[in-house]
Amino acid sequence: MLKVNKIEKNYKNFHLDCTMEVPAGCITGLIGENGAGKSTTFKAIENLIFLDGGSVELFGKPHDQLTAEEKQKIGVVLSGSTFSDVYMIKDVVKILEAVYPDFEKEKFLSLVERFRLPQDQKLKEFSTGMKAKLKLFIALCHNASLLILDEPTAGMDVVARDEVLTLLREYMEEDERRAILISSHISGDLEGLCDDIYMIHEGRIVLHEDTDRLLSSYGLLKMTEERFATVDRSHLLKKKKESYGYSCLTDEIHYYMENYPDITAEKGSIDEIIMMTVKGEAV
């Protein structure tokens, strides 16, 4: 459904070089620290910035050659960009009705009511979380086949984030040919939602893995220097010097748990995997 083929974008102090794919039926996450290139990748996909190399395909077509009907099938949440602050939700409804032939007005208004967004207040009076919800409802309510969501839960509290993630699951359950590309700086959001996760660092994809495998097979090993000298390193991805010796990131934690009982092995959270991927050295 979405293919990003070796896209390149050069800025003064930043180089994006990214390849990824979002197949139909999948929720794919993109994670990385601030400035890693997540938003730049999203903007490149949405043709908001021009590529220095590579290509983006949406629905099997170059992203700059989509028809209006094909564009209507994409729901977008952009980080830090939405309708002007002077509109009210009732204006947004009028606009969306005119923009999208498939706009689901009743669904939109029921979400607005369920999440207690005021219809007669200007967006400038909305909190960051309220704006984030509105942006997501706009993307969700025009029968899109693909959602491209850059930080859709930014500014939301824990309860709202959970409800919103449920909405995304429901969206996928409605039609198995749909797909979502989502980024978040809160890795917990993605752990429970995504089928696979791409990790981006300094403009490059440094890891791509199924979420299940990431959570079950990846982990941290803590060992002394002596043990590190003798351990089988074929499944070690990164190492980091610590006061006690080394901590290492592995993608086969069970192998080490079974064969090296003296090594402390901990299943990693996505945050820990990011930290080791970014800060660790090559083994």
Binding site: K43, L48, L78, S81, T82, V86, I95, L96, A98, V99
Partner: protein, 219 residues
């Protein structure tokens, strides 16, 4: 393009204050015997500025990037801005004409022929302003674009003013000839088709330029 038009029409609520000020000030002008050409120019030129103001609302909240993800091409976005601009100028023209007729009926105005001529020339100036302001607003942002437009018109105004002064002091015959030619042009039967054709040409060039600017812009 319907969605973009609805978006801009929803903005008119925000521009209500400005419209009320135009109506209030123009009403004072009508009954205080202000020169009709000034009154017509005031109404139409302010109308021409409103299209640029809708663009500055689009830029709010980083909104341009989001608008570019809607199912419209960048060319359609530009076309809608010209359309809404021309629509607002047309409303300004109708309102200015209505004011002029009131002035004429209350005995403070000019004859109908002069009123029509003044309105046509002001509408032409309004269209030219639109043609200059939209590419500038898209290129530099609505706020900077508006400042540049004002500076641009000041340069043109002072250029013409000082040009005439220089001509008057050094080449009085040529200056008189130019004034005669301008008067003839204004009174000629070609003034209306001339304004229309020139307006369309300038708008066309401006539209192509604005499309090119937006198509090359990153968000």
């Amino acid at each position: 393009m319907k969605g973009l038009l609805v978006k801009d029409l929803c903005l008119m609520r925000e521009l209500k204050k400005m419209v009320l000020i135009i109506v209030f000030v123009s009403a004072i002008f009508v009954f205080s015997g202000t020169d009709q050409a000034f009154l017509t120019g005031y109404v139409i030129i302010l109308s021409a500025l409103i299209a640029g103001m809708t663009l500055s609302y689009d830029e709010m909240n980083g909104g341009m990037a989001f608008l570019m993800t809607l199912p419209y091409s960048r060319k359609q976005y530009v076309a809608e801005k010209y359309l809404i601009g021309l629509l607002i100028i047309a409303l300004g023209v109708v309102y200015a004409l209505a004011l002029a007729v009131i002035q004429n009926l209350t005995g403070g105005g000019a004859d109908m022929k002069t009123t029509l001529l003044t309105t046509a020339v002001c509408a032409f100036v309004g269209v030219i302003m639109l043609a200059f302001s939209l590419p500038a607003d898209l290129k530099f942002g609505a706020e900077k674009g508006r400042v540049m437009l004002i500076f641009g018109f000041m340069i043109v105004f002072f250029g013409i003013f000082f040009g005439f002064r220089i001509l008057e002091n050094n080449f009085p015959d040529q200056q008189a000839a130019i004034i005669r030619w301008l008067n003839d042009a204004l009174m000629s039967r070609y003034i209306y088709p001339g304004c229309i054709i020139l307006g369309i040409v300038v708008l066309g060039i401006s539209f192509l330029l604005a499309c090119r600017i937006l198509e090359k812009k990153e968000f």
